[in-house]
Amino acid sequence: MTFYTPSKKLMNLFRLVLVAILFCSSNFTANAASGEGHGEAFSPGDMIMHHVKDSHSWHFVDGHYGTLHLPVIVYSADRGLEVFSSSNFYDEQHNTVAYNGYELSHGHISLVDSEVKVWDFSITKNVAMLFINAALMIFIFMAVAKAYKKNEGKAPKGIQSFIEPIIIFLRDEVIKPNIGHGYEKFMPYLLTLFFFILFGNLLGLLPGAANLTGNIAVTMVLALLTFIVTNFSGNKNYWSHIFNTPGVPLALKPIIVPVEIIGIFTKPISLMVRLFVAITAGHIVILSLISLIFIFSSIYVGIGSTIIVLFINLIELLVAGIQAYVFTMFSSLYIGLATEEHH
């Protein structure tokens, strides 16, 4: 019974998260948006970009304690590796200032008096989000794995019975049909991929959360890994299809072969762009609808907008699942094409 208590807690947490997504995100974004606007004219474009893009500090609410200043880690050939808080870039009035020879401008750190390239490995908002995502995944899946050890040979229960159907669905409906023989080898990668994207998408919908899976660097890494897995597990049949496409007349080969080679790269690029666009677009739509309230400064637009945002949020929940599914499905399809035996 010791396991039951944390799982119950976890389920409560899930409920809380759901409630938070449904009712608070619109409130929060509205609140944050108002902060953008004070002092100068409200610019929806700036506000939206600020929310969608990565940042060196994590802005929750207005006020002195509403912002979490994240650590900056920079490396340059001149200065070597340096670590300091991003709060050093701001003065009392929240104006950006140079610190220790570094300056922060539009999210980029550079040296004030040198043209040397500065490599920025800071724990940005998205990196922090990445840590949270990874920690949450480890916490949940360790609990699930523990439950399997505990309930060996028994019916699943608690969080185990929540995750199990998803794993079985992925295995039987997505991975197995697309890869076929030898699919077990790719299960760990594809499951990690699916749940990483799903959790990232869902966490991204939380009020104040970072737009992790809507960042092109993140989707690029995921697509790159699929690209590597696909091409490293590609068999003779796969490569012969690319460089010596069967059933194609010799005269057409100079056209087909380059197309096939481009195809190797367009597949992961489509994965990268699709996830990035779907998630970022969702955030932009919600933020735009919120912006309407501040543009019109009308209570009626506010009510209307909030209702629409609520429904868009529900759609975004659906999109979170669909995009995770689609990414995993296409990854397994590409791997399946690469490992397919000649027939």
């Binding site: 539009h106 999210g107 920025d120 998205n126 990445l130 794993i167 660097a217 890494v221």
Partner: protein, 164 residues
């Protein structure tokens, strides 16, 4: 445009964290989970298979039982008909034997009767002879009581003698 340019730092962090996450979850989560799922599915499949097998065995057993029963029935019928045949043949034999015995007894009786009859006839004959002798004696005596008849008789004899 900033939105479309992947940040080097985030790229690197994502790569590192995702790979760590992948290897960690692979070892500590996916392997035990998938293994347990496989084991459970196998055990369910085995249970279903063995149930199916038991069902089939039951069916087989039932068929065998029916076969045995049928065989027993046939055997019983055979035994019964054989017994009937035996009984019939015994009856038949008994009947024949009885007939023979009766015939023999009858024949014996006939022979005995004949013997008795002949003996009785012989007795009767001798008795008749005796009786006729006695009667003759008495008759002769009575006839020959007077002289005349004696004379006549003698004359008769003499007459016969003359003829001879």
């Amino acid at each position: 445009m900033d939105l479309l340019i992947p940040g080097t730092g985030l790229f690197l962090w994502q790569l590192i964290i995702f790979l760590i996450l992948f290897f960690f979850l692979k070892k500590f989560a996916w392997k035990p989970i998938l293994q347990s799922l496989k084991i459970r599915e196998e055990s369910i499949q085995n249970a279903l298979d063995s149930a199916e097998k038991a069902k089939m065995e039951m069916g087989q057993l039932k068929a065998e039982n029916e076969k045995l029963l049928e065989e027993a029935r046939v055997e019983r019928d055979r035994i019964l008909s054989e017994a009937r045949e035996v009984a019939n043949s015994i009856n038949e034999a008994a009947k024949v034997d009885a007939g023979k015995a009766a015939d023999k007894m009858i024949a014996d009786a006939k022979i005995a009767i004949n013997t008795e009859k002949e003996a009785a006839m012989a007795d009767v004959k001798s008795m008749v002879a005796d009786l006729s002798l006695q009667i003759t004696e008495k008759v002769i005596r009575k006839q020959l009581q007077d002289e005349a008849s004696q004379k006549a008789l003698i004359e008769d004899f003499v007459k016969d003698l003359k003829l001879n």
